[in-house]
């Protein structure tokens, strides 16, 4: 079993729809949760970063973390064609400086298309 599971999709929605992207994980030591966005033929870039459980909102994007269920979500409101990309969840635990445990665990990514 992979540390992080993410449905690869693809997901196709009309402009203006609410999009829900999800990941589950198995390691209860994870405390830091991230969503990266990757446009076609580009490197991933950080979209949202949350610590422990709870919600975080940034414009049309909301990240939710439920540590009790080991489940994280990314919601996109009023989706736009420019949101078409692959979304990757990533997570890590607390590490000491210089520890070789200092790495991120990524999901496989969900490919999203928002059509006009």
């Amino acid at each position: 079993q992979k540390e992080v599971e993410q449905d690869p999709g693809p997901l196709s929605v009309p402009e203006g729809a609410i999009v829900s992207l999800n990941c589950t994980y198995s390691n209860s030591a994870f405390q830091y949760f991230m969503w990266y966005r990757q446009y076609s033929r580009k490197g991933p870039e950080l979209l949202m970063y949350t610590y422990s459980s709870g919600n975080k909102e940034d414009g049309r994007f909301t990240a939710q973390v439920d540590k009790s269920s080991k489940y994280i979500s990314l919601f996109i409101r009023d989706s736009q064609p420019s949101d078409s990309a692959t979304y990757l969840c990533a997570m890590s635990g607390f590490v000491n400086r210089g520890s070789t445990l200092g790495r991120l665990y990524f999901g496989r990514g969900t490919q999203l298309t928002v059509w006009p």
Partner: protein
């Protein structure tokens, strides 16, 4: 700042040839990473470094070697390329802060085709 840069952007190799991919970052980051990305497989960690002169194996290290002689550079070597190493390779860097690894910044990728 240029951020994270990768050289070359694209390369075609024949089976058995060797090559080195170069990653450079100008953000004074401690951590550097090499990933490969294949369709349906997501990002898979090859090797990473938590500081100058220190490297560690990731999920798929076989067939690759790395070196971090300078803090700003991280080299990925393929000694004898195989078609299974056809992929897009991404380098990333990050820094450590208060027990957490902060944002990873990714380079633009290197597309490698092994014939």
């Amino acid at each position: 700042n240029a951020g994270v840069t990768q050289t070359p952007k694209f390369r075609v190799l024949k089976t058995g040839q060797s090559m080195t991919l170069l990653c450079a970052q100008d953000m004074n980051h401690e951590y550097m990473y090499w990933y490969r990305q294949d369709p349906g497989m997501g990002l898979r960690l090859i090797h990473y470094s938590v500081g100058e002169g220190t490297t560690a194996k990731g999920e798929v290290p076989d067939g690759y070697n790395v070196s971090r002689l300078k803090k700003q550079n991280f080299l990925l070597g393929l000694e004898s390329a195989a078609p299974s190493q056809t992929s897009v390779y991404f380098c990333a860097s990050s820094y450590w802060s208060s027990g957490a690894q902060e944002t990873q910044y990714f380079g633009p990728g290197t597309r490698l085709l092994v014939l």
